[in-house]
Amino acid sequence: MEKLMEILKNLRPEVDFNTEKSLIDGGVLDSFDLVSLIGELNEEFEIEISFDDMEPENFNSAEQIYQMIVRLQSEE
């Protein structure tokens, strides 16, 4: 989780990822953020987020992103 928060912080320093619950639906992250983020996550956590996983419910909050990472890691 910590690693994730750091990546997110790097990506968009001005956003408070602890409280924001609608990153996608609220338009906080745009598609370029996502592209950048996914690449970063894949690299850091050795997972494969494919573009089929690019659903709002996977990316709306830091918590959701974390859950997705855990799920993908266990699928490994």
């Binding site: 790097n10 370029f32 953020d33 592209v35 950048s36 690449g39 894949n42 494919s50 573009f51 490994e76």
Partner: protein, 524 residues
């Protein structure tokens, strides 16, 4: 035999009759395969070998990949997590090898047949006759539809690898997927998961398919013969003899070319989709009224959709999250503001994609330039979007403002048209020359000759009639499918419209063998 010819119509009628024979119900796909190969044969392509290689490599790569996927799944169920991870790595490597093999062969063929002359020419230029080395041009006859079916086949293999779709076990069915005749010449590039079930299932003759199919074919013929083919000689003339025209005329020429190219291509799609629908097989849509786009990026989401989405899914996405992209992005973050830094992976991927898109169209520098120019404009609009936003706020422009939307549409159209200077000219040098003319010699004039050089006034009337009807339909279509709109109208009104279109195709269209020069002959 092109798809808009009378001989194709006859060929199709024959196929459709056999296709719907009751006792062949289970073998409809085989009828399609036979028809597809016959069509390929009739089109005068004697180089069958390429499509056969693609079919076979695609088929067996897909099968091998799906076997690997299955092995992995079974192994996972049986073993512990740690062991599975190791096994997975192995499978991954093997899969990569298969994909590599498939892509190298298929892209290799494409490059060999389509691009060898381009490379040879450029190598010769670099060598510049040094030491008397000069490579001979190969002049291979480019097999029909190779640019399209190659992408379609590779897409299928990649989908199987990702587990998005199952591999087809029957080689002949794969052959049909690769060669389905209504779409082989110019696409649309189909996706296996959507197209294959439609191809392999049996279809009952249905009234709606017939009527919608015929409507669409008619509409396609209208666009093709009344607008595109009428415009063709005159637009050609402008670009062939561009030295004679002012920058203003050349700029108009770019707009004409851009309209003509769109109408021509989309007409082709209408005809192909219409024919296919009669057989009960829906093809993917390739156009969504691109000229109503408000930005270049939107234009590319609405123009040649199956191509741009192919590049998006199979090139842009993987590239933008690939390791080099991540590395670039990390580097970017050190030196660039965060707003721009996050764009770095996308920019990197976009650049490659646009280079490839340009190159895919044609083996020439002007297409590469055209692709890259598209990419650069989109990348810069990404980078400056923040700035634009601030301006807009200062000027109190709202996105929903009608005038603003119209402005954006016109601006996008002009931009697209200007970019068309690359495809429109017949060589890279000429396209740059034309650009120069447009910039340095732009004199607005209102003479007929400046607006429509060499175009017979009668033909202009036909073209305008066609375009007005065409744009009226496009704007209506933006709100709801015109077919639904028509379906609400009375039978009489609907049929009046069909018959008017049919008659105007006969009267105003360029059909069969032209009658140019006609009466001179009867004098003797």
């Amino acid at each position: 035999m092109t798809i808009n010819s009378m001989s194709f119509l006859l060929f199709f009628l024959g196929t459709a009759v056999v296709y719907y024979l009751p006792f062949l119900k289970k073998y409809q796909w085989a009828v399609l395969l036979a028809a597809s190969y016959l069509f390929y044969f009739f089109t005068g392509t004697d180089n069958f070998i390429y499509i056969l290689i693609t079919t076979v490599t695609t088929h067996f790569s897909a099968l091998a990949l799906s076997r690997k996927n299955k092995q992995l799944k079974e192994y996972k169920e049986r073993c512990k997590k740690e062991e599975a991870a190791e096994y997975k790595e192995r499978i991954k490597r093997e899969k990569k090898r298969i994909i590599f093999f498939d892509v190298v062969i298929n892209v290799g063929i494409l490059i060999f047949v389509k691009y060898s002359n381009f490379f040879i020419f450029n190598i010769n230029r670099i060598l510049d006759g040094e030491r008397g080395i000069e490579l001979k041009a190969l002049n291979i006859l480019v097999p029909l539809g190779i640019s399209y079916y190659t992408l379609q086949s590779i897409g299928y293999v990649l989908d199987v690898s990702k587990g998005k779709t199952k591999a087809e076990a029957n080689l002949l069915k794969t052959a049909l997927f690769v060669s389905y005749f209504p779409q082989i010449t110019q696409g649309p590039i189909g996706r296996f998961e959507k197209l294959a079930p439609r191809l392999f299932r049996s279809h009952k003759p249905a009234w709606q398919n017939l009527s919608f199919g015929c409507q669409r074919i008619l509409w396609g013929f209208f666009k093709k013969t009344v607008i595109a083919d009428r415009m063709n000689p005159f637009v050609d003339e402008i670009f062939l003899n561009f030295q004679q025209y002012s920058g203003f005329t050349l700029f108009l020429g770019c707009m004409y070319f851009s309209i003509q190219a769109y109408v021509d291509f989309s007409a082709y799609m209408d005809i192909a989709a219409g024919y296919s629908q009669i057989l009960g097989i829906k093809l993917e849509e390739n156009f969504m009224r691109p000229f109503l786009s408000q930005s270049l990026a939107e234009y590319w989401r609405r123009w040649h959709i199956t191509l741009s989405s192919w590049f998006r899914d199979y090139l842009f996405y993987p590239l933008s999250i690939s390791k080099p992209a991540v590395k670039l992005s990390r580097m970017g973050r050190k030196y660039l503001p965060a707003r721009i830094a996050k764009l770095v992976p996308s920019i990197y991927a976009m650049f490659v994609v646009w280079f490839a898109t340009g190159f895919w169209h044609d083996a020439s520098w002007r297409y590469i330039l055209w692709g890259v120019a598209n990419g650069i404009i989109m990348i810069s609009s990404m980078c400056f979007s923040g700035t634009f936003q601030t301006w807009k706020e200062k000027l109190h422009i709202k996105d929903e403002n009608r005038l603003w939307r119209l402005f954006r549409r016109v601006r996008t159209f002009l931009l697209i048209s200007l970019l068309k200077v690359f495809p429109a000219a017949d060589s890279t040098g000429n396209s740059l020359q034309i650009l120069k003319h447009i910039v340095t010699d732009f004199q607005i004039s209102f003479s007929y000759q400046a607006w429509f050089p060499g175009l017979i006034k009668n033909y202009l009337a036909y073209i305008l009639f066609g375009l007005i009807l065409f744009f009226a339909v496009s704007i209506r279509q933006e709100k709801e499918p015109v077919r639904n709109y028509l379906a609400r109208k009375s039978f009489v009104l609907r049929w009046c419209l069909y018959l008017i279109i049919l008659c105007s195709v006969l009267a105003f269209g360029v059909l069969g063998t032209g009658i140019s020069g006609g009466f001179e002959y009867a004098q003797y």
